[in-house]
């Protein structure tokens, strides 16, 4: 008895100094996560912007030709290029350009001399409305379908959802757009087929105008989220802790919403992050079909006209949006399932 009493206190002292530093404080863990994330994000940003810049630099297009017209002599072109600093080494130009980009200065359009950042800012509302609405449709419909299929696993509902998702994932956004226009604008004129109105001017007109393009843009996201969520939920339902919760007598709804959904939504969230570049790309097509003066259309028009600063500016904004969204998704993953922290 006395022997055991004397030996007991020794055990914690032997373990304690070893254990104490290992326990992570939440603030420190967050900092470490932030550091790891930045170590990945910053090189990617630099590389993507370098590609963007080199694309313009090697295009052989120059503002001199566009400003001076056909009558320009080689001397004139050289003079304009020197004025704009285009005769310097490419890497020097890149660093200079990146310095401006970081401060939010995307240069000015070669064609009309208006600031690129300013023009993008004017058009961003259109694209954010449509892409945002598409994302909402994708998350809501995708979650509903995915949960439904997982809950009714193996039934005809499950199979119907799978078939539906496979079907809509093969439909390209521009084909869906045309289909929606044919059905809802030509055959049954319920929706306007083109244009955009700011929500501050007319809220109901805004909703009806962005509905069709948002649906066309969202189908990919709906099918992806539904499929990933179903897989994730089915896998999570088989875990031992779910059996434990059932044994403890928790209602099925609570198990699903509180525990299974939380653990099974990881893959769906990751996919959501990968969807954003496609949403931006899809916007190029849908905006031109539905006659909206948005970000995607601006990028396409700039590219067709050979307006290099516009092309570079739109690409940079797209890259930043994608990276920011990926960061958000990663942060959400960590919040949902602390284990995800280890895998970034």
């Amino acid at each position: 008895m006395t022997a055991t009493l004397t030996t007991v206190p020794e055990i914690p002292t032997a373990i304690a100094p070893d254990r104490a530093p290992r326990r992570r404080r939440p603030g420190l863990a967050l900092l470490a996560w932030l550091g790891r994330t930045l170590a990945v994000t910053v090189p990617v940003f630099l590389l993507a912007t370098l590609v963007t810049f080199l694309l313009g630099a090697f295009s052989g297009l120059s503002p001199a030709g566009q400003l001076l017209g056909d009558a320009a002599t080689p001397d004139d072109v050289a003079r304009v290029n020197a004025q704009l600093g285009l005769d310097r080494p490419v890497l020097v130009q890149y660093v200079d350009w990146l310095g401006h980009v970081v401060r939010g200065d995307l240069g000015t359009s070669w064609l009309n001399g208006v600031g690129v950042a300013e023009q993008i800012g004017q058009r961003l509302e259109v694209s954010l409305s449509v892409a945002g609405f598409a994302l909402v449709i994708g998350v809501v419909a995708g979650t509903a379908l995915g949960v439904l299929a997982a809950v009714r696993q193996g039934s005809w509902i499950d199979r119907a959802v799978t078939v539906f998702c496979t079907l809509i994932s093969t439909l390209p956004p521009f084909v869906v757009s045309i289909g929606l226009i044919v059905v809802f604008c030509v055959l049954f004129p319920l929706f306007p087929s083109a244009g955009y109105v700011s929500p501050t001017e007319d809220l109901s007109a805004w909703i009806t105008l962005i509905t069709l393009p948002a649906i066309a843009l969202s189908l990919d996201a709906v099918s992806d989220i539904a499929r990933q969520l179903r897989t994730g939920l089915v896998a999570a339902q088989r875990e031992n802790y779910v059996v434990g919760l059932v044994v403890r007598g928790l209602p099925p709804r609570r198990i699903l919403l509180r525990h299974v959904l939380r653990n099974g939504s990881g893959p769906a969230l990751s996919v959501l992050g990968l969807r954003v570049p496609m949403l931006i790309g899809g916007a190029v097509v849908t905006e031109s079909i539905f006659g909206m003066a948005g970000f995607g259309r601006f990028a396409a028009d700039g590219a067709v006209r050979g307006d290099v600063p516009v092309v570079q500016g739109t690409l940079v904004v797209a890259i930043v949006v994608v990276l920011l969204f990926n960061l958000l998704v990663n942060a959400a993953l960590v919040r949902l399932r602390p284990a995800a922290q280890r895998g970034l």
Binding site: V44, V51, V175, P267, P277, R305
Partner: protein, 286 residues
């Protein structure tokens, strides 16, 4: 397991997909001889007609025969998609294989490059590259090929990683087999099924992008017929002929669907699992 044509054809989806793809490919090759009219020939007496015995799919706004244009457009669309697929295959698979062999620095560098490619939005980048490097589908498809290469890179790495550390590879090296021989003889067969699945899926998504670009009028000269271009024209005259988009749209959807069906069947047959992005990154960080 190595995917064989016979085992693909035993699946219903696989058989239908392969049959359809072969049919489209044959039509793309011999289409110009089958076409009832010259796809560029205009006819002022037959504008925007519906389907009739003379013009099985009707005519467009310049009186050109839709069926002939559809057949002529197949070749361009399929070739462009194929080009993107091949570029992606080469640019993704080669560094994917090498990253397993050349050590940490190469691995880290290629992973970052691939991450950067994933960040660039497909269509915006393709549009930019076409416009800046010359208005042609070849340039656009080069861009698309670059952007799909991360998919190939990831599946190749995921498949090659376990093989590279296996005992028979070690044994082969010990007997003095050169690296290229080990790669070709031992690693490549294990990587092939995953790459085949990705190739099929990539062809489908490339076709969507080709059609989107030609739909926007990028990468083609106007009279040249393409599936996307025909859809764009049909959209302008939608109120006169609401059924006009049907044929080109169906052709795009079915071909893309057949590519996806083939990819799914290949995946089932060879037991390839799509590598998860997170696992891949965790492995790189470890």
């Amino acid at each position: 397991m190595r995917p064989r044509l016979s085992s693909v054809l035993r699946h219903r989806v696989g058989a239908v997909s392969v049959t359809f793809l072969v049919l489209v490919a044959v039509l793309a090759v011999i289409g110009p001889w089958l076409a009832p009219y010259d796809p560029l020939q205009q006819n002022q007496d037959a504008l925007l007609q519906g389907p009739s015995p003379d013009h099985l799919l009707g005519t467009d706004n310049l009186g050109r025969d839709e069926l002939s244009r559809l057949l002529a457009g197949s070749r361009l669309s399929l070739l462009a998609a194929l080009e993107a697929g091949v570029v992606g295959l080469v640019l993704g698979t080669v560094p994917g294989l090498l990253s397993v062999y050349l050590g940490r620095v190469f691995e880290w560098a290629t992973l970052r490059v691939m991450d950067a490619f994933v960040t660039l939005p497909f269509l915006v980048f393709a549009v930019a590259m076409t416009a800046l490097l010359g208005n042609g589908l070849t340039q656009a498809m080069l861009a698309v090929g670059i952007l799909v290469s991360p998919a190939f890179y990831r599946v190749t790495r995921a498949a090659a990683f376990p093989v590279a550390g296996s005992q028979y590879v070690e044994a082969a090296r010990l007997t003095g087999a050169p690296a290229w021989f080990v790669l070709a003889r031992h690693v490549w067969p294990k990587v092939l099924p995953a790459v085949a699945v990705t190739t099929a899926a990539t062809l489908g998504s490339s076709l969507v992008i080709v059609s989107s670009l030609t739909f926007l009028g990028i990468g083609i000269r106007p009279p040249e017929p393409t599936w996307g271009g025909m859809l764009a024209t049909s959209l302008e005259y939608l109120f006169q002929r609401p059924t006009a988009p049907l044929a080109p749209a169906l052709l795009v959807i079915l071909t893309v669907g057949a590519c996806n069906g083939l990819a799914d069947t290949l995946r089932d047959v060879s037991g390839v699992r799509a590598p998860s992005l997170r696992k891949e990154k965790a492995r790189a960080a470890a």
